[in-house]
Amino acid sequence: MSVSCDLLVIGAGPAGLAAASTAAKRGVDVTLMDEQVAPGGQIHRAMESRAFKAESVSRADDERGVALVAEFRASGSRYQPGTQAWQMQADGKVYVTDGARARVITARRVIIAAGAIERAVPIPGWTLPGVMTVGAAQIRLKTITYKPPAETWLAGSGPLLWLYAAQVIEAGGRIAGILDTTPGSNRMRALRHIGGALGHVAYLKRGLTLQRCVRAAGVLVVNHVEALEARGEGCVQSVRYCVKGDWREAPAALLLLHQGVIPHTHATRALGAEHHWNVLQRCFVPNLDSWGNTSIESYAAAGDCTGIVGAEASLLQGHIAALEAARALGKLTPAQRDELAAPHFAHLWRHLAARRFLDALFAPRASLLNPADDVVVCRCESVTAKQIRDAVVLGAMGPNQVKAFTRCGMGPCQGRLCGLAAAEILAAARGKSMQETGVFKVRAPLKPLSLSELAALEE
């Protein structure tokens, strides 16, 4: 069955929910589709089924999430959970599947709010069972209050390490230790942006509170970790880490990796929208105007998929993109749109200024982005860093040639996980910038699709 709507919103995180609610309020006929089974995105995951504690480290997020989901539920928007897009066309046709049948949604406007994914930074042994991301463990904590085994190590860099550790402690669990790879020199770099951070001290206060909570619980924190390795037979059994050239090893039942988050750009790239390299955030982001419009007519983007902005700013970008959609659909005059959007822009600038401090403070350690030859980079096709470097020697100029030479990025994840990591290795091997190097081209279907799903498509 085909669906037609004025506005299709893709993604039910803060940006998507805010966009749907705001557009619906202006009389726009909205359909919101999301690949998860319940609204909230990753940050507000399982919002409607979770039990909340009044005194929680995530209380402010939770309260915002509950309000956001409730407002969306009451907005009159059509909601299609468990639905993935596999092709997007400039004519507003978006092909989707619910895992059983493919369908087409025809929309006059589309707002892509695909959110963020965790930056994959390959280390030796990261394909071993028992090595996961911090985000993965946090999802289990949110959905079923899963407490990790006692010999759980967190390794990497970024606010999520501290948030997750604090949440585990709050849930009565334990963490063996945090192996922090944040380079010491980041602090000096971040200081340049302290002015912006002081404009929004909530971020700073929250970070300090989380760190205090984790340290007070007696969690071992190892700073200045230069290199990491997961070891084991059949599953992870220990983690090795290097501090000042000195390797140490500790038993591990679960190793959780995290190197910050990057925009999930598969949808905007599949669409063929223009992107550029964001130097401070070390990721590709779509080219947008101030209303979130992409380079493709009638397609906008909002939230973390446009560059990492965080949940609160994502919500503001969702409102702004929705007001622009309402204007484009004739529900608001440009003057009305401007007036309604003005307070959102004012708040947004404050968040974005503070974000630069966090970006600089948690910039990934450069040496980790260029792993040793024998490290698997593409997990799906088991392609190593050496195979990528060899492809360069054979004459591969860009990511798409590396893909053709090695199958890197050609497995079921279609380069979602390894795309940026492979591009970093390629850029370093060729001595080129990331902007010049680019990333894999994304082609339809942008999610694997079975022939029976495709056969169910009626146009």
């Binding site: 690949e35 399982a46 895992g99 394909t127 090595v131 463990a137 997990r379 497995g411």
Partner: protein, 88 residues
């Protein structure tokens, strides 16, 4: 939260209703949930949010399902995926 009973590799296990099939497989004690069709190495769920496709499993007889994206249902059959299932 209520519980549902699923069948992981032939063994019944009770899990919370909000759990995913991948989560149920981990709760059932499976260390690996699939075998890499390229190298034959054991692999297990990595991202739990639909990005990495490491959690591909056979669910109710259908191969290559992203187990982290499939919510558990009463009586669901969840099985490890080896290269053989992919080509069936």
């Amino acid at each position: 939260m209520s519980n549902v009973t699923v069948n992981v590799e032939g063994k019944a296990i009770s899990v919370p209703a909000g759990e995913s099939a991948a989560g149920a497989a981990l709760a059932a004690g499976l260390t690996h949930t699939r075998v890499s069709p390229v190298t034959g190495e054991p692999r297990a769920p990595y991202c739990m949010m639909g990005v990495c496709f490491e959690c591909l499993m056979v669910i109710d007889g259908v191969p290559s399902r992203q187990a982290c994206m499939v919510p558990v249902r009463e009586g669901m059959r969840i099985e490890r995926q080896t290269a053989v299932e992919v080509w069936k």
